[in-house]
Structure formats: structure tokens, C-alpha cells
Symmetry: C2
Subunit: 340 residues, 2 copies
């Protein structure tokens, strides 16, 4: 029995650590550089780098509760979060690292599922898991497992996206329904079941972003809408760009089940976390073409034009069908702890 | 009062998160790229990369208990650990990331000290803290704070170190006394005070490594001796190189206070964690010169030649002054949990 659980000694750097690393991480992930087990991965970048390209580096801590949920788990989440942060800078993801903090008592079979799921998501996104670390903390001190993930990617020459490029008149697009991830987690945690089950939208979006560049769309800014949802992204970008944003309430894509669940829990889907949603700013004249490209992609079927950038005060305004407006404000308080 | 403590809302992605990130992390760390607060840092590498150079990437999770200790804290530790892992591949550290997992109730002043200490260590090592993340977990679920750190460095053309280059006859060097970090933590945790206080050796060793390359020493392999100590490093490298190692017991540098403390706690300093010790393998003919270079460096004053590589079975043998030998084996059980 005890052999099936993580013990403190698995994190001590001794024989049990070696065994865990070899039999579980190296065997499951199977990356050649990872399997060399050096303190750092050594990577030949010559084929990836050209003159004028830049490197992008990102990190996130993953503390989602529970570890496994409809549509994903913490392993898949760590890969998708890393890939999407890189994609949001127009980078092509190349390498990533995972530092695991395991809790004494975690079932090793469960850990194996999480690592396997990490491997599958990485394979889909085309990112290599090249280095990692494992620590074990005493029972009760880590909610099962946490992951500190980091990623490195390359921005091809000529690509320049960011809040500094947002312009008045830009169209604001999102690639699908809002709040699926956050509500999937919340319902599971609260023990509420809906007639239509809600799954997390957790997905690697680098292909979706590349699709825009491939057809020559002049993308101005990209941001993946995780913690704080699309609402937080827009409020942040309004401040960072110094421009106003108008959002059309009826254009916001929200699943019926998510809307109903938000109603029950008193939440606004605009501020609920996603793990597979990218917000894109681009010239209005290219919006239709961009929408068509996204709708043809598996992760963009529900893509929608949700608003536009306006001159004036750097605030976000929500416009309703009857023409009334209200300011969208970043919530100060606790939204959804441990949602990612 | 409550204003001085980390709350769950600090991790929600809302206003309090923004405030914490700006007032604490960005202001303290002051890196230009970090302060842009994008999902990923975008880095111009053109000045750093030359034809034939390679990238190195590393990660570690830091879960040390307690968060502050004589000679360092978790912030300094995360920087030194990252820098030393890069230096062990002969890379020059360039960029790093820190993903913080904060526990509800952590004093914000304490967090500020940890971040400041991170900044100081990074400045000393010449590594830039370019991106980060902050999550908050409920009280009791993170022992104060954990950090997932990752780093990227560049290996200049022509450098090739690793277990594959270790050869029979190679000298084995270490840059100073063994077990200082582990014993500093253990004594603090056990509430034992010694006549001579023991401080952690936590230090960034990239300068020490560069010093060897600068004078043209043919370094074959480097490994920083953290969890599991110098003993674990030697056992691992014996296996990875397929060669035997002989260690001379009387040559092992150990502080008197550390030896005494190890005696009390029943530990072998050879297997106690360090955070500022590098093991180097190089041709015996260059050992004296390498020792002189290290002894002239602030982090190498206690440098010693501790053994040599021998043909034959890939095991580590400890030779005593009277000529007897015993095999050094990796301990299977719990060494020192949460030592780094």
C-alpha cells in the first residue's frame, strides 16, 4: 500500500528520488534532453533562431484545486498555461520546465496520470519538456501537488504585439465561450451538478495564434484570459494602452449552462477564468477574415467579435442591446481561489 | 493589521493582485522587462548569442523551512540555486523567472524582505529577474511560501562539460567546506545552538566557475552539491560516467562546528546539503592551478582536492588515512526534508 504513495524520502535526493525520477518522469515524458538528468538542459537553438528573432520567457505557478477536473488536470493546465503565455507574445513555444511540489501521501498512480497528461498536451503543442525538479513537503502542506512551470519560445522576426500597438478602432476578438474553466472547477468544488455538464476549455492555443500570422493578419495585441477572465484582460489592457474599450454585451459568447451556473453562484462570466481563450486586437478591416480563420480551427469554432477600442478614458464600458452603458470594473475581492 | 498580511484576494487576479505586484515585486526588483508585466518577457538575445553558443535552461522548486535562516532565505536560495545549476553546465546566467506560491496570512513585510534578498543575489550574480507569477493558497497549505524558479543562460562556443567528459585520473575538487547549509537549517529547526554559529553557504557560483575558464583550465564536469550533498553528486556521476571515484576522507573540508553538529544528529557531512559548493572534475595536471584560482576567489577560499577518478566499477570509495576503504552509498531514506 505505502509503496503507492509519495513519501518524504522521494524528495530527499537519495535513492527513492532517483527511482521516482527515472521510473515516472523520465519514462513517461521520454524527452532525450530531460533523460540526461543534468542540472540544466542544454539546447541547440541554431535551427530555431534567425537574425531579428527574439526570445520570450514565461512562468506560472499552478495550484488548482482539485487536481483533476472535467476537461483537464494540473499537468495539462501547466502546459497550456505556459504555451498560451508564450503565444500571447507571438512566440512559438520551444522548451518548458516543470518544478513539482508534491505532498506526502499523494498516490503515485495519480501523479503518473498528471505527468502523462502533461506529456500529451506538450506533444499537441509541440513544446519540449526539457528539465524538471521534484520536491516533497509533509502531508497537509501542498493540497496534493503544485507545479511551477516556465517556458521559452522564439518570436520570429517582424512580429511585434503588445499593448503599445493597440489603436483606436481596433476590433476585439475572442476565440470562444467565456468562463468554462472557472465554472467547471467551481461546480466540482461546490458539488453542484448541472443537466449539461461543463468542461474546462483548457487547450494550447499556439496553433490558433499561428493561423492568424500565416494568413498575414496584422495582429496588434494578444492576451490569454485566465485568472480574472476576459474582463480583467480588458481592464488591464485599457490601462496599459491608455485607450478605452467598448464591449457589446450581446456579442459575448457564453454557454447556457455556464450562464445558469454563474447566476446560481452570483458570478459574472466576464470575470470567470478561462484556460483556452485568447483575446486578440487587430484592425477592424481584418476582423472578418480573422474570425473566419479562427472559426475554421478546432479551438476557435465559437470565435466572436466582442467589441472595439475607442479613444478617450482608459476604461472598459459594457454596452447593452438597448444602448445603455456601464463601466466594467476589476473586482477587488476574492474571485475564485485556486482556479489555476 | 490585516492589511499587513497576504490574503486570498491577493492571488485572485483582481485589484489586490495588481497592487501587490506593482508595489512589491515590480518596485523592489526594478527590472525594465519585468515592469512591462506581459504574460512573458521578451528578450533581445542578439548581443548574447554567437555562432556555436548553446542555450541552457534549468528549474527548481524551493520549499525550505524556515523561510529565513542564518546566511540566507528562500529568495536568495532561489537565485543561487538557479545560477549554480546554470553554472554547472558552464553557462553564463542571463534571465530568470520566479513563480511564488504564497500562503494566506504571510506577513507582507516578510515577503518584501524575501523579494529584496532575491534582488540582491540576482544583482551579484548578474542575472535578470524578467518574469514572475503570484498565487495565493489558503492558510496551512504552503508553509509560508514556495518558489518555482527557472533560469536561462548561454554556453559560450567551445565549452563542453558533463559526465561524458569525465576520465580516469581526473582530479575532483570542491570549493570549500561541506554541509554548512544543511546543518544551519537543521540546527535552527531543532532549536540547537552551538558555541560557533553555523551559517548557510548559500552563494552564486557563476563567478567561481568563470574564473576557471578565464585561465584556460580544461574543465571536464561541474555539479553543484545541493540536496544529498557531495556524496550524492559523486554517486550519481560515477553511474553517469561509468567510472569509479576515490575520495580521501582526510581531505574533505568540514567545519569543526558542522562536524560536531553532524555527530549530535547522526548525519554524515558528505551527504548534507550545500548551497554554495561546486564539485569540479579536471585533468590532474591542472589541479594545482585550478585550486590556486579558486582559493583567490571569495567563494573558494576553502577549496580542496578531495579525490580522483579511477577506472573500474562505477562506485565511490572512501579511503581513510590508514588506507582502509569503504563504499559510499546513496542513502535510501529520508535525509533532510525541506532543506532547499
Amino acid at each position: 500500500m505505502a509503496a503507492g504513495l509519495i513519501r518524504l524520502a522521494h524528495g530527499s535526493g537519495g535513492l527513492l528520488t532517483q527511482e521516482l525520477v527515472h521510473s515516472l518522469f523520465v519514462r513517461t515524458l521520454g524527452d532525450e534532453e530531460l533523460s540526461r538528468l543534468l542540472d540544466a538542459a542544454v539546447l541547440d537553438h541554431s535551427s530555431a533562431l534567425q537574425a531579428g528573432s527574439r526570445l520570450a520567457m514565461t512562468t506560472d505557478a499552478y495550484v488548482v484545486d482539485p487536481l483533476e477536473f472535467p476537461g483537464g488536470d494540473i499537468g495539462k493546465l501547466a502546459v497550456c498555461g505556459t504555451v498560451n503565455d508564450l503565444a500571447a507574445t507571438a512566440a512559438q513555444p520551444l522548451w518548458m520546465s516543470a518544478a513539482w511540489i508534491l505532498e506526502e501521501g499523494l498516490e503515485i498512480e495519480r501523479l503518473r496520470r498528471l505527468v502523462f497528461s502533461m506529456k500529451e498536451a506538450a506533444a499537441e503543442a509541440g513544446i519540449r519538456l526539457v528539465t524538471g525538479d521534484t520536491k516533497v513537503v509533509p502531508h497537509g502542506l501542498a493540497g496534493g501537488a503544485y507545479i511551477g512551470a516556465a517556458g521559452v519560445g522564439i518570436i520570429p522576426p517582424g512580429r511585434d504585439v503588445g499593448p503599445h500597438r493597440i489603436q483606436p478602432g481596433d476590433a476585439i476578438l475572442v476565440n470562444g465561450t467565456l468562463g468554462d474553466h472557472g465554472m467547471a472547477i467551481m461546480l466540482l468544488r461546490e458539488g453542484i451538478s448541472m443537466d449539461t455538464p461543463i468542461e474546462s476549455d483548457c487547450a494550447p492555443l499556439n496553433g490558433l495564434v499561428e493561423a492568424l500570422f500565416e494568413v498575414g493578419i496584422s495582429v496588434h495585441c494578444l492576451r490569454d484570459a485566465t485568472r480574472g477572465g476576459v474582463g480583467a484582460v480588458l481592464c488591464e489592457l485599457a490601462l496599459q494602452s491608455g485607450l478605452g474599450m467598448i464591449v457589446h454585451e450581446e456579442a459575448l459568447p457564453v454557454r447556457e449552462a455556464v450562464a445558469a451556473a454563474c447566476e446560481i453562484l452570483g458570478l459574472d462570466p466576464l470575470f470567470v477564468a478561462n484556460e483556452g481563450k485568447m483575446v486578440a486586437f487587430l484592425p477592424a478591416s481584418e476582423a472578418e477574415r480573422a474570425l473566419a480563420v479562427w472559426r475554421a480551427h478546432p479551438y476557435g469554432r465559437g470565435a466572436a467579435l466582442i467589441g472595439e477600442v475607442a479613444p478617450g478614458k482608459p476604461i472598459v464600458r459594457l454596452r447593452t442591446t438597448i444602448g445603455s452603458e456601464r463601466q466594467v470594473r476589476l473586482p477587488a475581492g476574492e474571485l475564485l481561489p485556486r482556479i489555476c
